[in-house]
């Protein structure tokens, strides 16, 4: 037949595809992070805005430069939004007030060293933003542990206040087991609570549920900490939004939070000289970077396993290591290092945890498959 027909598109099947794209995934994550980011900016004011601005702008510039160096299309590389997201996450992981070269250095390490030395988007084997944070945390440990009180809890020592996690940890290391819970510890140190937290606590105690006002403040985000990690509530909201849009699946965050919560509940109290099963689960779930880590960092697609079983193992590993670092380690916070640690195990998990081949007479298959003759067609 004739060859003059070129007016129709010819390509291989499938001819329909989902609308979900790399770009839409990145933007959905950015959107989900926005409430917590805005909360952080409001709580910490202008200095935190400069930090975020520096981390984001420098991340995008580094991405563009690297794309140029690696002879990729710059516009197309920037279009996927991944550099913007990395920059945002770097900024969210920074303390609100610090010399502005630090977020730039973190973005440099994230984009240039972690992401591009292995080939750019999709090739990095560690979460770039967390690696960037870890890099600057170990390079400038002083500047990286200066915490500002949030607007809602303005204290006299506003600039040099410590995070609740750090505070309890320091006390623990200095004074040894005291036999009281972290909330009582904070109270004895004279930490303030917001009126709203007091009211929420009173309301719940009137219906018979006891809770610490410190944990309520932690949940809402009236606490000092990194710019983007303070409001557990808004991060949870963002995480649920991603779940609802099916950008992420439940396995990693739930395995992480459940393992971590369970371990904290079981063994968390023992370090304070309390018996088993007395750990303050809510304090640990809502403080530090756990929520940000569980919903946004651990679920980073590039650096997490691709099977459901692998995701569960990976999530449980992060939970275990976060628990170990927080309770037994010398650092106050453990989620970012735990995630980085488990990042490195992902290729191993993917190598051994494979989906079951359809029709494979594995443990499950045997039950259903009728015995058939061993001879017959085999793959070439």
């Amino acid at each position: 037949m004739s060859h003059e027909f070129q007016e129709f598109i010819v390509e291989t099947s499938p001819h329909i595809k989902t609308k979900s794209s790399t770009r839409s995934i990145m933007w959905a994550v950015i959107l989900a992070l926005l409430p917590a980011t805005i909360w952080g900016l409001y709580m910490f004011g202008l200095p935190s805005f400069y930090v975020l601005l520096c981390s984001i702008v420098s991340a995008v510039i580094f991405e563009g430069v690297m794309a140029k160096v690696m002879k990729r299309e710059v516009r197309r590389t920037l279009r996927d939004g991944s550099a913007l997201l990395t920059g945002l996450l770097v900024g969210m992981n920074m303390p609100p007030v610090l010399p502005l070269y630090i977020p730039v250095a973190a973005s440099f390490f994230a984009i240039v060293v972690i992401k591009w030395t292995f080939g750019g988007l999709g090739k990095n084997w560690m979460n770039p933003a967390l690696a960037g944070r870890a890099f600057v945390a170990f390079s400038w440990p002083g500047a990286m542990s200066v915490w500002t009180s949030p607007r809602s809890l303005a204290r006299l020592d506003a600039i040099s206040s410590v995070s609740p996690l750090g505070e309890t940890k320091t006390l623990l290391v200095e004074a040894g087991p005291s036999g009281i819970s972290s909330a009582e510890l904070l109270h004895s140190l004279g930490n303030p609570v917001t009126p709203i937290a007091t009211r929420v606590t009173e309301f719940f105690s009137s219906i018979g549920i006891q809770m610490s006002p410190y944990n309520v403040d932690l949940f809402i985000g009236n606490v000092s900490g990194s710019i983007g990690e303070i409001s557990a509530m808004l991060l949870l909201l963002g995480g649920l939004y991603l779940l609802g849009r099916k950008v992420i699946s439940w396995e990693i965050p739930i395995a992480y939070l459940a393992t971590f919560g369970l371990l904290i509940w079981t063994f968390g109290g023992t370090r304070y000289g309390l018996p088993l099963f007395t750990g303050d689960v809510w304090f640990h779930l809502f403080s530090g970077g756990v929520m940000l880590g569980a919903w946004f960092m651990a679920t980073d697609m590039v650096t997490s396993p691709c099977t459901r079983a692998g995701m569960l193992i990976y999530g449980m590993g992060i939970g275990l290591f976060t628990f170990a670092i927080r309770i037994y380690g010398s650092l106050p916070e453990g989620s970012s290092l735990a995630i980085l640690l488990m990042n490195t195990t992902v290729p191993l998990i993917d190598m051994y945890v494979r989906p079951r081949r359809f029709g494979d007479r594995g443990s499950l298959g045997k039950k259903f498959i009728k015995k058939s003759t061993p001879a017959g067609g085999n793959e070439s």
């Binding site: 027909f5 099977t307 003759t373």
Partner: protein
């Protein structure tokens, strides 16, 4: 109502069947010329047994089955063989083509004569199906007589009739079940008798509730031992592996056939063709084709002679919009895009889908971000993201270790891929290279 399905992988594309699911089957007029390729089925091409200038009657055999996996070919019109040519098919293969000029004066009705079926033995049924050119009408076009030649050491417990039609857009099987349920039921009984199947199951997805109800009524009326199983809507449930898992809960081991788990799977359209071949002695010279898609001006279902050019079918079906950018022969998940409307309808053409710019807008490919969605939707338990890498890097041995030959190109992985990678294309290339023995 209890519904059934399988659980490993699968996707839920928008089904888009509303374009044509309520349109009764219309008969397309006999075209002036029919184009009959000898590659109407999987396996060896049929051998042409007519020459240029021969007069042929409708239903005359013009191609002989040429091998164990092969099928006969019949003239779909009465007329004169005008040319024997070669055609390039949408899948890229080239095959002989018999062109018949229709005799406008002659009677062009499809031959039907009621013949007794009760005395047929299993061998006679298989022989008759081969002689009448019956092949699977679901799309794979596997010669039916081969499926019906049960080796002595095997037995058939289940005959599973495939009324799933899981491909979006297509409604041909749906209409057949609604309008020719009696023939489907009779065909199922004949088929089950021939292969000595103990039980008959018809699997239909619940987006065709009216077909399920109508089949149940027809079965009750005929007092036939057939179970209709409503299935949850999920692609690719119409694949025999997924269908058997959903209906009888058995998994076909890799590189095995349904027979290895005691089942034979036949499409509803094929069952009807079996009935017509056995009870009416009618060769397979026409089939129901869905013309649909956003670009089809009057979507519908059309009883079309095999060999009718797509252009003629589209013309009768009301044509296509000016914005049409792509035509698909078959379903959107596994069908082939066609570059010319001169191509003829074959026994495997279940639909012609016209897509407009809005549906065919190109996506921007990005690097794989390792989201793993492809792994989680693969119904065969493969790892498409790693498999594609082996093909791109030409590591064919590793591709085999990732079970590339298990891939049936259903397209679930590429459907969900956010990086818009051409996964299925690489698997097709890889499989064909490996079949040719490339290391």
């Amino acid at each position: 109502m209890k519904t059934f399905t399988w659980h490993k992988g699968g996707v839920h594309p928008p089904d888009k069947k509303s374009f044509s699911q309520d349109k009764p089957i219309l008969e397309v007029p006999v075209p002036e010329q029919v184009f009959l390729t000898t590659a109407q089925h999987v396996g060896a091409y049929s051998k042409v047994i007519v020459s240029v200038g021969d007069q042929v009657q409708i239903g005359d055999k013009i191609g002989e089955s040429a091998g164990y996996i092969s099928a006969s070919l019949h003239a779909s019109v009465t007329g004169k063989v005008s040319k024997i040519d070669v055609i390039t098919l949408p899948n890229g293969s080239r095959a002989p083509l018999v062109i018949i000029n229709t005799d406008q004066e002659a009677d062009q009705s499809v031959p039907k004569e009621v013949v007794p079926v009760d005395t047929l033995t299993a061998e006679e049924v298989a022989k008759k199906l081969e002689d009448r050119g019956v092949v699977g009408l679901g799309g794979a076009t596997f010669p039916t007589h081969v499926k019906f030649s049960i080796p002595r050491n095997k037995s058939v417990e289940y005959l599973v009739i495939n009324g799933v039609e899981c491909e979006p857009y297509l409604t041909a099987d749906h209409r057949v079940m609604l309008e020719h349920a009696d023939e489907v039921v009779q065909g199922a009984i004949l088929a089950a008798k021939a292969i000595k199947a103990e039980k008959i199951i018809i699997g239909v997805e619940v987006n065709k509730m009216n077909a399920i109800e109508h089949l149940r009524e027809t079965i009750a009326h005929a007092n036939a031992p057939i179970t209709v199983m409503p299935l949850k809507v999920k692609y690719p449930q119409g694949d025999e592996k997924q269908l058997l898992k959903a209906t009888i809960g058995r998994e076909i081991p890799p590189a095995k056939l349904p027979l290895d788990v005691g089942a034979v799977v036949v499409n509803v359209g094929t069952v009807r063709a079996i009935y017509q071949a056995l009870a009416l002695n009618t060769p397979l010279i026409e089939r129901v084709v869905t013309v649909t898609g956003e670009g089809a001006l009057q979507p519908g279902n059309f009883l079309t002679r095999i060999g009718t050019p797509v252009a003629k079918l589209l013309e009768f079906a009301g044509g296509y919009s000016q914005n049409t950018t792509k035509f698909i022969s078959g379903g959107p998940m596994m069908g082939n895009a066609i570059n010319t409307l001169d191509l003829p309808i074959t026994k495997g053409t279940s639909g012609i889908i016209a897509l407009e710019h809005a549906q065919t807008r190109p996506f921007i490919e990005t690097p794989c971000i390792g989201c793993g969605r492809c792994v989680r939707v693969c119904p065969m338990g493969l790892r498409p993201r790693y498999l594609a890498k082996t093909i791109v890097n030409r590591r064919y041995k590793d591709a085999k270790k990732e079970y590339i030959m298990d891939c049936k190109e259903c397209g679930c992985c590429q459907y969900v891929c956010p990086a818009k990678l051409p996964l299925v294309h690489s698997f097709k290339v890889g499989k064909s290279l490996i079949r040719r023995g490339v290391q």
